[in-house]
Amino acid sequence: MLLPAIVLFLILNLLVGLWRIYRGPTAADRMLSALLFGSTTVAILLLLSEWQQQPALKVAAMIFAMLAAVISIAFVALQQGIKTGATGAVDDGTEP
């Protein structure tokens, strides 16, 4: 009985935190909310794995934990690209 209660509590946490994505004001604010929600999702999946007795959900949680950083790296690359106007690799037909 405790496990589903905690799952619901964490989901409500996530929903309340959506307000920060809505308000911003900066892109970094929105991004770090997404970070928190990624971690919340990992926790919820782990709890669901125990409650529903499905160990494979732990593997799904692991994939989330590993790949959460990908979006953050993409975000800072995006911000750096906007600020400096620089580009990274370009597929422009020239040899390396």
Partner: protein, 311 residues
Amino acid sequence: MSLVIDLVLAISLVVLAWQTLIGRSLFRGLVMFVVFGLTLAMIWARLGSPDLAMAEAAIGTGVTGAMLMVAYWRLRRAVPEAAEERVPRRPLLAATIGVLAAVLVAAIGLTTLSVLGPGGVAGYALAEALPETGLGNPITGVLVVFRNLDTLLEVAVLLAAYVGARAAMGEDSAALPLPPAQDAPLVGALVAVLVPLGLLVALYLFKAGSQDPGGAFQAGAMLAALAVVLMLAGRLRPAPEPGVWMGFALIVGTAVFSLIGVAVMAWGQPLLAIPGMWAVYVIEAAMMVSIGVTLALLFSGSAGLGVRSRS
């Protein structure tokens, strides 16, 4: 309690979808879409589908999230005012489509409620036929053995999508840069930890797919996510020419599947009858490679990938 959880998740999914599409800020919609993906994964978990939760994790977090960010950046470079444009409001059209969609969802929902569960006819037949294939995962059984025509066509559609995307770019294929490579020391350390481990996870997903949740799609999506990380960190770069191995990797999934499916006819079997567990592994391996490479190339928008050595 479980009903409350499911209701809250369902309502938040709709709210997130609404917030993704509405509003002035494209970036806000982007982040809402990422959270939408997270909520979707939780819903798959609640529906008892670890396979789909894994696939959503790998594709939604690793590939689509980064792809949308890069697309947003390219949009801002090309058309700066488009990123902050107001969405034109058409309330009457939106209401009509909304009502139609709600009716459709209600119809599907009521139909599935009246259909028998896993104990029904199709589920019963599947449970009977599965042990003969040697597989323990019914989803892999359906995907690779029983309804494999759908899977074959899906892999072919993925290839067609890539070809279509390249064709749509046309002369602009040289104008699709990636954002600046992240050279910060921590990124290098993360890549050094993440990529080998990610490879292990991908191989585990591939191997586990026969008996436990997992399979070629999840493994391929994981590989694509690793390629995305390497591209963002500057270790891989888009290349103008595909090279032999890249072209081979793109088509190997469709080709191997079709080849085995047609070759069995020489032994009197019907089309696409799978001859044994070895065929399942070979087909899944080929699909994993194709899916991973195609998704990675869809992210970079280029014809191929090249390695950039640390000089």
